[in-house]
């Protein structure tokens, strides 16, 4: 599995990112179309959950290197991004990712260390609570046999599929679907070498990947008393599972195990003059500025706070965030407040004790 808390430094490689996928798509299709997942007649949920737990632990015990194709489509529709990347992971350590054909551009930090805030012990609980998780068959990815685990919505439609290596439970392929059944994000190994119990040479660490300050429930409670919103959950079953400082913003990470949303809260007022190339939409008492991504980003003023949302999520999820943190133009203290403040300023100038 790709190591958690990956951080990638912006760099060169955009052109190759455009060109290489076109060459790699036939390879990818050849690799993953060998054995399409056979849908089992009777899914075994406990076995699927057990597999997911093993998958979460796999990066700690398996080193691997290989080539992956990744693609994602914007939550706002239309726009997409794709790349072929080389991935190298050290058991229990860091993962390195680089766009195929470019110079190494990212050393990846290992687990973020951020406190887990959602109910349950971890990501698998998040997923199992929101979806029915079932084993739906066996397939082959990059020449390796894999179990296919499916996360189903209450209506029975597939929200995501995960191909897990039968030997090490390492995720070999992932797909996420929207409610209409279209693929919203996908990745798959087209070439993979596993090195169990082999430690890779130390990888270069990206200084930008230093973990920001994690926040716990008590920290969030204190912040709410001081005016921060930090909702515990968002409509649609998205639970807050991590929170941390990113500069002067608080990053609130929400997920149901498949859909992910990051909400960044900052104290202050949004300056629209700095937002170039953004689409605008009036919502409630304010204006929402958005870019399609992916991932789609949205930013708006909520009173004297600025909210920015980064989401691999359907539009309904964005609406849920807007409902929880409604846009509202900054409070300019009102005329009376401004008059009062002005009077106090003049009074202070004439204060003989000043």
């Amino acid at each position: 599995m790709i190591g958690p808390s990956t951080v990638i430094r912006r760099g060169t490689g955009s052109l190759s990112a455009l060109a290489v996928p076109a060459l790699a798509v036939p390879v990818l299709v050849g690799a993953i179309a060998v054995a399409p997942p056979a849908v089992a007649q009777d899914g075994d949920a406990p076995a699927a959950v057990d597999l997911l737990h093993r998958a979460m632990a796999a990066p700690d015990t398996v080193s691997y290197s290989g080539t992956q194709f990744v693609a994602a489509w914007s939550a706002l529709g239309g726009a997409s991004t794709s790349a072929v990347v080389d991935v190298a992971h050290r058991a229990g350590g860091a993962t390195e990712v680089r766009v195929h054909g470019s110079r190494p551009m990212s050393a990846i930090d290992e687990r973020s260390g951020a406190a887990w805030l959602a109910d349950g012990g971890g990501p698998v609980d998040l997923l199992v609570r929101a979806y029915d998780v079932v084993l739906v068959g066996v397939a082959t990815v990059a020449g390796r046999a894999a179990h296919v685990v499916e996360a189903r919505r209450p209506d029975g439609s597939a929200a995501a599929r995960l191909w897990l290596d039968t030997e090490f439970a390492l995720p070999l392929r992932r797909e996420i679907y929207d409610e209409a059944g279209a693929v919203r994000a996908a990745s798959a190994f087209v070439e993979l070498k596993l090195h169990p119990a082999v430690t890779h040479p130390a990888l270069r660490r990206d200084p930008d990947s230093v973990v920001t300050t994690s926040l716990r429930r008590t920290d969030l409670a204190r912040m709410r008393d001081n005016g921060w919103s930090c909702p515990d959950e968002l409509e649609g079953g998205l639970a807050l599972y991590q929170a941390r400082w990113v500069g002067d913003a608080v990053q609130l990470s929400y997920s149901d195990g498949v859909v992910t949303v990051s909400v960044f809260e900052q104290e202050g007022r949004l300056d629209p003059r700095t937002l170039h190339g953004y689409a605008t939409r009036e919502v409630g008492g304010g204006v929402v500025y958005s870019t399609p991504g992916p991932p789609a980003t949205f930013t708006w003023s909520a009173g004297d706070w600025v909210v920015t949302v980064v989401a691999d999520a359907p539009a309904e999820t964005i609406d849920a965030v807007l409902a929880a943190l409604p846009p509202e133009e900054p409070d300019d203290r009102g005329l009376l407040g401004r008059i009062g403040k002005g009077a106090l300023r003049i009074a202070s100038w004439f204060n003989p004790f000043d």
Binding site: V7, G77, A79, S187, T297, I339, W349
Partner: protein
């Protein structure tokens, strides 16, 4: 560090805490724009303090006193007990104000003898209009002083670091079983616009 913005006023008024003041002064040392704003604010404040000591010219005082001149006899025509109250010391019959005259310093215009007397109601309207205008001007001044800094460098102005946020989003989703590598690659890979 961002520009001081509204903190310029707080710095000049010595309303910042110890640490904030040190940070602001350190910023002022290196930022010409904020240094100029601080100097301008201090100059304004000093000028207003000097204004407080200015003696009003005698003509202005007399003119102000004349505003209250027209009119109705003093004391009021209707007394609670007509005929019983003795006039104040210095009053003479037919006069309408104590002392029988006007201040020696009076140099303003006065109604010529025999000229028609202005309607007292007009005077009251003028006074009321002047009061409204003065109150409006005062309100405008106070609201301007109490408003946000007009320099555009309001310290509370936020520019979200969207690119960094996208990277941090990928970092946080990396621990989820279905999180896709694409989320962490987005900041470095190309985005293909939709077909028209």
């Amino acid at each position: 560090m961002k520009h001081l913005g509204e903190r310029v006023t707080a710095l000049v008024d010595d309303q910042l805490g110890h640490d904030d003041r040190d940070r602001a002064l350190a910023h002022v040392m290196n930022c010409e724009q904020c240094r100029l704003e601080v100097e301008r604010e201090r100059a304004t404040k000093a000028a207003l303090r000097r204004l407080a000591d200015v003696e009003p010219p005698a003509s202005l005082v007399a003119a102000l006193l004349a505003l209250a001149e027209p009119g109705d006899p003093l004391p009021p025509e209707r007394r609670p007990f007509p005929g019983t109250a003795s006039p104040p010391v210095g009053w003479r019959a037919g006069e309408t104000r104590p002392g029988g005259g006007r201040p020696d310093t009076f140099t303003g215009t006065r109604r010529p003898e025999g000229a028609p007397r202005l309607n007292p109601r007009h005077g009251r309207i003028q006074l009321a209009a002047g009061g409204v205008l003065s109150a409006g001007a005062l309100t405008l001044v106070l609201a301007t002083l109490g408003g946000p800094a007009a320099s555009g460098s309001d310290p509370a102005t936020v520019v979200p670091s969207v690119e960094r946020f996208a990277v941090e989003h990928g970092r946080s989703t990396g621990s989820l079983p279905f999180a896709d590598l694409a989320t962490v690659l987005v900041p470095v890979t190309s985005t293909v616009a939709p077909d028209p």
